[in-house]
Amino acid sequence: MKKNESIIFKRFIQVTGLLSVVLVAALLIGLSIGSSGGGMAAVWKGFLKTEPSDPVLMTILWKIRLPRVLLAALVGGALSLGGLVFQALLRNPLAEPYILGISGGSAIGAIIGILLGLSQFPGITLTSFGGSLATLLLIVGISTGQSILRKNALLLSGVMVNAFCSAVIMFLVSMTQDTRLHNIIFWLMGDLSLGSLQQTAILTVFLVPCFIVIFMYANTMNLMLMGKEMAQSMGVHIRRANLILLVTTSLMVSVCVSQCGLIGFVGLVIPHLFRLLLGPDHRVLLPACILGGGAYMVLCDLVARALPQQGELPAGVITALVGAPLFVYLLKRSNP
């Protein structure tokens, strides 16, 4: 056991390195395949400028596919991380932004934005963001008694808020009869097709600071897994850590939802998968979830684009189709 530097630091570097390669590979595959053809070889040649490239293909690549795969990677990473944080915070494997109703609130905000005929950015983003923050405050408000964040109180109020949000969404959808209905439903199922480079840049500006803040609390999350009392007796400021993590994660999730709609199960499946593979240390799990979740999302979106003969599926359909059975399998396997 003679080590000159932290074992965890080495593992962090290893996992980050390996999964960065996976993410880059996923991004390249995502770039290469699409309805207007191209294929790996043509894309590569175009990028490396070894031969004159097809200008139409290059335009599609830069204007449509590149923003889309980047958006998918960012959203996948953020949603996976959101799931990881909520699971640690609530010490509950079922915790996820969707289950807590934060995404539902965001969706109501976005639908109102769509119905009001606002633009994608900043209009819908802002209404959606407002919706998710309102839900967050509502959930925290309901579950705050003597101490903030009692495990079950928060989860239960989340479930209730989520049920209420679903009802409101159904109501709004039922009342809508024109072409906006299609937009809403597509958006609800999780849609990455509206990505632009500008949108991706905005998202990066929002998400990267969130990633950093949460990473600063990675070790704190480890200690919090030992129970509130033990964590506190080891010097953790529980209330502060809970608040910062909860608010940061909610911001992160609501920004994603406002951009891409409801993409579920990423935050449930990816953290569980990596926890089984890499163990419980959040300092390793955190980069794994961001990079691995990003790669997973890119591939899911790729399937959503490539599978139908005409048009495309919303990516959220694929993540749920893949995620739900995988989740059940993981659950069975980890509970002998």
Binding site: S6, I8, N219, E229, Q232, M234, V236, P280, D281
Partner: protein, 265 residues
């Protein structure tokens, strides 16, 4: 003299019921201090106040001459370590990981360990005698082994005071005596003040240098084991007939339950 832990007129109310009703006492450095008393007498609450998990409704808690509020969490963690009664087990950390977590008050936010931290963790593991368990998952250990791992974690924290909430509850006899011996060794060799809540009056009699008997949130008796563990004191607090004689192994009281004589109030 240098004060250890001093409580002055400490009250604690929870949901309108007064759990602690104005306690004043002190725990001296180097004490093996055991808190006993019936269920609901406020033992656990008292312990939580001493390690800063709860704030008293009124009164003062002083740690080494300074009010407990003047400590920030990390600084308090270097003075006082705590082994709670129960710990959630839904995390597959290894024993070594858990013990190493005890170093977190000394580390930066990311908890990256250095050579000293690893060395301290190894020492704590050796001291507790759990070297064989280091690579095992904490969730797969028996109750006794797990308790030892959590104690090693607390030792690794290098506190001046170690608080334990019923550390021997629901453990087998060998683990009970192992843990109590370990605490005695810790107190004797490292001069760590031990503060413990216990339901086992006989274990308390054998190890405590001072005893506190709580009854309904008030101090019933405090002092040496001989002074506190009389049948009058115990029967008055616990409300059941008891036989108290001398332990044949030495000059400590021995408490025996008397079957068939309990009259519910």
């Amino acid at each position: 003299m240098t004060s250890g832990i001093v409580l002055k007129n400490v009250q604690y109310a929870y949901a309108r019921s007064r759990v602690l009703k104005g306690l004043s006492f002190s725990i001296h450095p180097g004490d093996f201090f055991i808190i006993i008393g019936p269920n609901g007498s406020g033992k656990t609450t008292l312990m939580r106040l001493i390690c800063g998990l709860e704030k008293p409704s009124s009164g003062r808690v002083n740690i080494f001459g300074q009010p407990i509020q003047s400590y920030n969490r990390k600084r308090l963690a270097k003075e006082i370590a705590f082994v709670p009664q129960s710990t959630p087990l839904d995390f597959p950390f290894t024993v070594f990981d858990v013990v190493l977590m005890g170093r977190s008050p000394y580390q930066g936010m990311l908890g990256l360990e250095n050579q000293t931290d690893l060395e301290k963790a190894r020492q704590a593991i050796e001291f507790t005698g759990i070297t064989k368990l280091v690579t095992r998952k904490i969730s797969q250990l028996s109750g006794g082994e797990r308790q030892l791992a959590f104690i090693a974690r607390a030792i690794c924290q290098e506190p001046k005071v170690l608080l334990l909430d019923e550390p021997t509850a629901s453990l087998d006899l060998a683990h009970q005596i192992h843990i109590m011996d370990l605490m005695e060794k810790l107190q004797a060799e490292k001069n760590i003040t031990i503060v413990m809540v216990s339901h086992d009056v006989n274990l308390a009699a054998m190890y405590a240098s001072r005893l506190l008997l709580l009854k309904k949130g008030e101090i019933a008796h405090i002092g040496s084991t001989e002074a506190v563990l009389t049948y009058q004191n115990l029967e008055a607090s616990y409300g059941c007939p008891l036989l108290v004689d001398q332990n044949p192994m030495g000059a400590v009281p021995r408490v025996t339950l008397v079957p068939g004589k309990y009259i519910p109030k």
